[in-house]
Symmetry: C2
Amino acid sequence: MNIKDIAKLANISKSTVSRVINNDPKVHKDTREKILQIIKNESFIPNNIAKSLKTKKTKVIGILVPDIGNPFYYEILRGIESLLDKNNFNMMLCNTEYDSKKELKYISLLMSKKVDGIIIAPSSSISKGVNLLYEKNIPFVVLDIIQDYIKTNCVLVNHFKVSYSATSYLLKNGHKEIFILDAYRENKSLSNFRNGFIEAMKENKILIKDYYLNEASPDIIGGYKTLKKIINSKYNITAIITICDLAAVGVYKAAKELGVTIPDDISVIGNDDIPLARYLNPSLTTTRQPKFKLGYKSAEILLDCIKNENFNKENVKIYELDTKLMIRDSIKRRI
Amino acid sequence: MNIKDIAKLANISKSTVSRVINNDPKVHKDTREKILQIIKNESFIPNNIAKSLKTKKTKVIGILVPDIGNPFYYEILRGIESLLDKNNFNMMLCNTEYDSKKELKYISLLMSKKVDGIIIAPSSSISKGVNLLYEKNIPFVVLDIIQDYIKTNCVLVNHFKVSYSATSYLLKNGHKEIFILDAYRENKSLSNFRNGFIEAMKENKILIKDYYLNEASPDIIGGYKTLKKIINSKYNITAIITICDLAAVGVYKAAKELGVTIPDDISVIGNDDIPLARYLNPSLTTTRQPKFKLGYKSAEILLDCIKNENFNKENVKIYELDTKLMIRDSIKRRI
DNA sequence: ATGAAAGCGCTAACAC
DNA sequence: GTGTTAGCGCTTTCAT
């Protein structure tokens, strides 16, 4: 069943049916009602694939996240969805697993399916996928993981401030031997999360030992392995700052197994404030990121690029959203 | 840029370009290589919208879940995604928020976008959306929430057994005044979760007081409100069984606020075993559902329906996956 | 206010 | 092994 069939049933041309479907005002009231009635009777649903072929718009956007399993992203997804819903867009969700190959594959698929735009939390800070989008002039917004060598619209929090504040807070509480767990980075010197830590330490004239600076996967396993390594190496650490709460959960897990008590033996401070954070034992001190808003804002910018067709590689901006340190029970005062 | 342009560059017809793109063996090796080279040079990505219009296949499936924010669904999503990835399918994710209107709207959108099939965790056990899919002969699989009045492929766990076992376990531990928190249901007598509880109580000759049987939204707020209600009503409850872990988290939250100690004052048993469950304080006793497998299996069945075009409303089955009671620290022995 | 016709970019049947 | 052609179901310009 297609508009031609509907047209036949109504003794009218398919152009007019098309007009009715698209709410073109230039249709006689009676004609409109008749056609609407038939559409309803037949419970006809127009073929938007054909429409898209003609109009070059799909009302679909692609979303790429590195880890569907990280609660950080669900709230973001909810933020995106809430705006897409209002605009009758759909989202194609892709899970890249921090794998640049998979990321690139999905981006190609999305492009072949002619999504109107893409929101991507890249697999790394040098993403080939993002480069492809850039070259092909696809409207896109980068989320959370800023690109090192390319200017794009980007929505995120200030990771420098996040770790600077977290470190300062630990310092204020008498900690000196602080371990930082960053995600893997191609170019370490470009890591704001790392640099905020370094800056805070330097300002307080604390010597940064090599092994303070660490990298792992930003998930439970990453945090788990990291604490095990710390304990095995008998480093004299009193606190650990993690790149995300999920990694902090990994630290908790390892602590339990190793008989290490948080915060008495080691203090932990996370980043992003996943819903679980406040329910952990002890509840996790962490930096709250406005996750819903991160998603909503990204969608807003993207839809704007799409609608106004004003997507311009040069006219691009970094949107920094505010964070807040949530002080809970995972930090011990060492004075 | 389209296949016609590629054809021109190669001095060849677009049919042959199409053949190369679709790996048709009936193309001369040299021709193929030449075309492949041009495609690569131009970094040409074929328009799958046009392809879909012709072939009536999109390689997209729609997923509808009632609450993106419930961790129960992420593992399911991962399961679905892992199979879709292998088959180069994309997924359109829709969040229905237990709202049948929104569900229906999204289903219409998905149908207009000609998804090859749909996996739906319905907003309720009598879903108009599911009925529409049924009537329109769209391949679909129902996840988790079985439909009361319509036969469909359905992947889920045996909720009767889940609550029966949970209740039996509580009974064995000396509990008698047990409260059950079910999700809202149009037809209460059809709730297996409720019925498993009733059956276990009856077998043990425990009188079921009216207020034992309760309904709330299956999320943190639902659990939160429920415990508040119990405490305010001064019911003499020693244990509570929740329809999902997220509701149990709500119970924990209310308990903390009210100064109620788990498990000393009240025991709690969840259902589904979200990642957070074991990290709660006290760690939550709950029934583990094979979430990844639930998703994977659904996708498997759906892709099978799509590929073999053997989707037949009558030839439909319920797939019950195994569960396991995870005994942790949220139950107190009352003997 | 309505209709006729061209065309979006691809596939696939058919011809050679 | 390759080319020609019709057509998938819409939109949209142009005519009336």
